[in-house]
């Protein structure tokens, strides 16, 4: 059975290995240069002040490879689900070869088990290797970036992609088993996977761990904008909190007792006065900054939680397929 699985999966294995090898070569050539730039320019300048220029220069290095790796991290799990998961059973059911396979001297449960486990492990290994290489390559950029726990960066490294790949694969197998035709199964797999990938960062991940809440005196240097709204001449202040690498849920400026109603705008912030006067006035108002956020230190906790959730769903799907193959199909 191992042989048959390998024989049927040989072409895909070759393509995946070749793809990973080419990527590895590209990353191994460009990665050390990136790290060298980081070591020589960013570390040096951090000792004395403003690094915006050198960071911008670093972020403009090898943009093609940056774009490629970002794309791969998004696309590879979906491709695994579509091209490895969906056809696994759908093609056998569609072409009728399951009738050949299930009447050999191996039970269909074993046949399915070996196929599922070996191809599933290949999926997980492919995603894991990809993430390992990409995470290594990105490490200099990540140290100057927005913070890897933020939604835009979270899935660009670490171990969650292993969960995504396992889930996409199991999802593909399940839709293939239920729909019994390869192309529709691929389409449905893609639609569900994309929907889940969009839904999780918005509706699931923020609730995995309760966020931290910090209340501090407003640092006027953090003020990003001041606005005055008619009709009550109400004052609004927005602030960008300075918490390195954190995932900010919300940042609110409140009065000292904690009200978000800051009252009417002081004259110093009116249209006829300068920003410095306004800033000085605001500083005397004893405003507070209330921030809810996930600190950067929770990155790995989130990674483990999310990976575990995706893996658990993948296992449930695989168990369902196993039951269905044993009991229902044919």
């Amino acid at each position: 059975m191992t042989w048959l699985t390998w024989r049927q999966f040989r072409a895909q294995t070759v393509v995946a290995s070749a793809g990973l090898a080419v990527l590895a070569i590209v990353l191994v050539i460009t990665g050390p240069q990136l790290a060298h730039t980081f070591d020589t320019t960013v570390i040096g300048c951090r000792a004395h002040g403003d690094c915006t220029g050198v960071i911008n220069a670093l972020q403009r290095q090898d943009t093609a490879v940056q774009d490629l790796t970002r794309l791969l991290m998004y696309v590879v799990p979906a491709v695994i689900g579509l091209f490895w998961g969906a056809p696994l059973l759908a093609r056998e059911l569609e072409t009728g070869t399951y009738r050949l396979a299930w009447t050999q001297g191996v039970t269909r449960v074993r046949w399915f088990g070996v196929k599922l486990v070996l191809t599933g492990l290949a999926s997980v290994a492919t995603a894991g290797l990809l993430s390992l290489m990409v995470t290594w390559w990105w490490s200099p950029l990540e140290r100057v970036g927005a913070g890897r726990i933020t939604p835009g960066e979270f899935s660009q490294g670490g171990i969650v992609i292993i969960g995504y790949a396992a889930f996409a694969f199991a999802l593909g197998v399940t839709t293939g088993l239920l729909i019994r035709r390869t192309l529709p199964a691929m389409a449905v797999t893609l639609a569900i996977f994309v929907a889940v990938q969009l839904a999780v960062p918005f509706w699931v991940r923020p609730h995995l761990i309760p966020p931290l809440r910090s209340v501090s005196a407003l640092n006027v240097a953090n003020i990003q904008g001041v606005s005055i709204r008619a009709p009550g001449n109400e004052l609004f202040v927005s602030a960008g909190p300075n918490i390195p690498g954190a995932w900010i849920y919300s940042a609110q400026v409140t009065t000292a007792p904690g009200s978000t109603d800051l009252g009417p705008s002081p004259a110093a912030c009116g249209p006829n006065s300068g920003y410095n006067q306004c800033q000085a006035t605001l500083a005397r108002m004893h405003l507070r900054e209330v921030v809810t956020y996930q600190p950067a230190s929770r990155y790995w906790t989130f990674q483990w939680y999310e990976t575990a959730i995706y893996l658990a769903v993948a296992l449930v799907l695989a168990g369902f397929c196993w039951w269905w193959v044993r009991r229902r199909v044919a």
Binding site: M1, W3, L4, R7, Q8, T95, G96, T97, R99, L100, A101, W102, T103, Q104, G105, V106, T107, R108, R110, R327, A330
Partner: protein
């Protein structure tokens, strides 16, 4: 003699439709059994139940003493060639033989490669590029090289041209005859009795999801007669004689009658019946039970 395939009240339901119902059969060992019936009669359902691809909704089925698919041991004892002889299009002929060798404990590699060589198949050829006849032969090779005690073929020749049909059935019979050391039972289905006439010695007619008649071919032929005589109603037959079908012209009645005894009534001209006519009589009976041939209908 033991039964290789034994069913009791076997039925399979899809949604609200019964593809097979109340099927009770005993297929003796060592026979070549023809399973005949029109398309949609339930042949494939019965055979899929026998190889364990389906599970019965009602009744029981035992194949070589066990309910299929009991275990790998039982799977190994039953060879199956499915309808349209599915093979892996991307795998070569040699790959298929390796597949058979890997998945079956009793695999006879010599038999398989001899057969492929005798058929003139190129082992490096992909199965997807084979002709229908070659693919059927490859599927048959896989089924026989696992040295089954029971070989089941579902419409193996339905998609073949007449020459390939003859070659396939000849090859099948030679292969079965070659297994001197152990007895192989064969069940093959077709919607055409002419395909089976030459090879089968036992017949099952399936129509309207029910078994219409079953038995040894010689015995079926000996107990069925074609009666022609003056027009009369089949109900006037004496006890022990059953009209399977009746057709009438203005003056004449033609009956196919089943009876164990001789027919003495001098009003009938009795003649022997061919297997095809016999099967057709049972098939039309099964297909339209509510329209049993009756005198009034023809008037």
């Amino acid at each position: 003699m033991t039964a290789v395939l034994e069913t009791r009240g076997l039925g399979k339901q899809y949604g609200r439709r019964w593809a097979l119902s109340d099927c009770t059969l005993d297929i003796p060992a060592g026979r070549v059994v023809g399973l005949v019936g029109p398309n949609g009669a339930g042949k494939t359902t019965l055979l899929h139940l026998a190889v364990g691809l389906l599970r019965p909704t009602a009744g029981t089925i035992r194949v070589l003493g066990d309910a299929p698919p009991a275990n790998p041991a039982q799977l190994a004892r039953v060879g199956f060639v499915a309808q349209d002889t599915p093979t892996y299009a991307g795998l070569s002929v040699a790959d298929h033989l390796r597949l058979g060798a890997r998945l079956n404990h009793n695999w006879d590699a010599g038999l398989a490669s001899d057969r492929i060589a005798r058929l003139g198949l190129d082992p490096a050829q992909r199965a997807g590029k084979l002709s229908g006849g070659q693919r059927a032969q490859l599927a048959l090779t896989l089924a026989v090289a696992k040295k089954p005690e029971l070989l089941i073929l579902d419409e193996p020749v339905a998609s073949l041209d007449p020459l390939a049909r003859r070659e396939f059935l000849q090859g099948l019979m030679e292969t079965v005859a070659d297994q001197q050391d152990e007895e192989v039972s064969v069940v093959l289905s077709s919607h055409l009795v002419t395909d089976l006439e030459r090879v089968c010695d036992y017949l099952i007619v399936l129509a309207g999801s029910k078994v219409q008649v079953t038995g040894d071919v010689d015995r079926l032929l000996a107990t069925h007669h074609l009666l022609t005589g003056d027009r009369r109603h089949p109900a006037t037959l004496p006890p022990g004689q059953e009209a399977i079908s009746a057709s009438h012209t203005d003056r004449q009645t033609t009956l196919i009658v089943r009876t164990n005894g001789p027919i003495h009534d001098p009003a009938w001209t009795v003649s022997a019946i061919g297997l095809e006519d016999l099967v057709l009589a049972y098939m039309s009976r099964g297909a339209a039970p509510e329209r049993r041939p009756a005198l009034e209908v023809q008037r």
